[in-house]
């Protein structure tokens, strides 16, 4: 059998990595839903899904089948093109940012070193921010195309919230970029061998995490889609498969944001490694997944515990508190860096 040429080999490798990562991501999203239902249920002193499979572990499968068989109706006066486009846009953007996230160091199989990352851009962090800022469109277009007042209000509120907290998100990350001197996600993790960035940038981490919760439209910032406020917000008129896409897009965003928090502040895949080379390559991935799981748990914990912000409180918090604190953090970090290097 002739060996494939080096270029087609690398294309095949990238396609294989994409397939594996997407599969893992979709499974994580499905089981994040299960985890949320279980944890929130326990916080509320009840059991959560219990009947389908042991401890409800097959519940996501049942939900998936239900979604496929549900009737998909489209209201008559909607703008059909945009109505169909919005959930696909939201879902594909949610999956796009996983392309630059590194899960571990690298593994050497048959003499070839394969990195645990689909592609390493040297502006990787900016790429994730770019995909996040495009994510506003899914929400805004869904709200507008539904041609109904609750979705429109929910969509407008939600997009205003997302663009407001995008600024604070970027400012929280600036400190880390200044300390590392690079925008490449792999290099940011490599810079944390001595000390995790969360100890060097505690304020930056808090700003980033708060802004991330607001960006993903989660409690306590989920007024635009809270059931008791706006029926369903921007996804009121959606049913069956398109609604499932919004739902999965939201959870995929949560996973992406958790991965990013792990990489930037908690040392990514760094952790104790030991044993034979195969184990040495796979243990960092395990550490990474454990840390991301901790973040998912914190997200769900916050959801079960905190009440919702009112919309004006939400916007005031984003502009009048988080943004100035972010700016002060950037100024303080640059002062410290300039004084300590001179």
């Amino acid at each position: 059998m002739a060996m494939p040429s080096s270029e087609s080999y690398s294309i095949l490798l990238i396609l294989a990595k994409i397939a594996v990562v997407l599969l893992v991501l979709m499974t994580t999203v499905a089981y994040a839903v299960w985890l949320e239902r279980k944890v929130v249920a326990r916080i509320q002193s009840r059991w959560g899904p219990y009947l389908v499979g042991p401890h409800g572990l097959l519940q996501p499968l049942a939900d998936g089948l239900k979604i496929f068989f549900k009737e998909d109706f489209v209201p008559s006066e909607v703008d059909r093109v945009v109505f169909w486009l919005a959930p696909f846009l939201a879902f594909s953007l949610a999956l796009l940012s996983i392309a630059v996230i590194p899960f571990g160091e690298s593994i050497t199989i048959a003499g070839k070193t394969i990195r645990f990352q689909i592609t390493d851009l040297n502006v990787g962090l900016l790429f994730v921010i770019a995909v996040t800022s495009l994510g506003v469109y899914g929400v805004a277009l869904a709200g507008w195309s539904s041609n109904s007042k609750y979705p429109l209000l929910g969509g407008l509120r939600s997009s205003a919230q997302m663009i407001s907290y995008e600024l604070s998100l970027g400012l929280g990350l600036m400190g880390v970029v200044m300390i590392t001197g690079s925008l490449s996600l792999r290099e940011i993790v490599e810079g944390q061998h001595s000390l995790w960035n969360v100890f060097k940038q505690p304020v930056g981490f808090l700003i980033y995490f708060t802004a991330a919760v607001a960006e993903t439209n989660r409690v306590p910032f989920d007024l635009p889609e809270g059931e008791s406020e706006l029926v369903g917000g921007f996804h009121t008129e959606y049913s069956s498969f398109k609604f499932a896409m919004f739902f999965m897009a939201e959870y995929a965003n949560i996973v992406t944001v958790s991965c990013l928090a792990t990489l930037l502040f908690f040392g990514g895949w760094l952790g104790p490694v030991f044993g034979p080379p195969v184990l040495r390559s796979l243990l960092p991935v395990v550490w990474f997944c454990l840390k991301v799981f901790c973040f998912l748990f914190v997200y769900i914990w916050i959801r079960g515990t905190l009440p919702r912000f009112r919309y004006d409180q939400l916007m005031a918090f984003g502009w009048k508190f988080l943004l100035p604190v972010g700016l002060l953090n950037v100024v303080a970090t640059s002062l410290v860096l300039a004084l300590s290097s001179s």
């Binding site: 900016l126 921010i129 495009l134 407008l156």
Partner: protein, 163 residues
């Protein structure tokens, strides 16, 4: 590599045609977003990686969001065809074709494709652009910051309910 330039260039032209020809403003805005993203890919192919991402973050992700939200809030309807000028309707497209043809001819004469020199390899990462920006171009940088401040104040005053 060069094939990607032609693919995304063609996509940009088709989307630009859609911007100009669509009757519904929301579709024009969405087509403009497609133009911006394809141009971002073209910038990436031409070695301007930082600017490609900045184009997506600022232009496609912030300015166009502003456009889309304003279109939604003002409830802009489909545009009815106007019958103001018959001359424009008859002569418009041919004149445009002549104008474009002339400019393209001039460009082709001045930069013949066969004689393109090899592009020198320059590192166009954020660090290189930042150094230029804060050394040679620090005055325009500060002036544009004031420009943005003035624009923010102006927009707030203009769009208020009661002045």
């Amino acid at each position: 590599m060069a094939a990607l330039f032609y693919i995304f260039g063609a996509l940009a032209i088709l989307a630009a045609l859609s911007v100009v020809l669509q009757r519904t403003p929301v579709y024009s805005a969405l087509s403009l977003i497609v133009v911006l993203c394809s141009l971002a890919v073209v910038y990436l192919l031409l070695g301007a990686e930082f600017l490609a991402v900045i184009q997506v973050i600022v232009y496609a992700g912030a300015i166009m969001v502003l456009f889309v939200l304003v279109i939604m809030l003002l409830n802009a309807h489909r545009e009815e065809p106007t019958d103001r000028s018959r001359v424009a309707r008859i002569l418009g497209a041919p004149l445009l074709a002549v104008f474009l043809g002339e400019v393209l001819y001039a460009v082709w004469q001045h930069f013949p494709p066969e004689q393109t020199p090899a592009a020198p390899a320059v590192n166009a990462g954020p660090r290189a652009i930042g150094e230029l920006l804060f050394r040679n171009y620090v005055l325009p940088f500060e002036v544009t910051s004031i420009l943005i401040l003035v624009a923010v104040l102006g927009a707030v005053v203009l769009a208020k309910k009661q002045l």
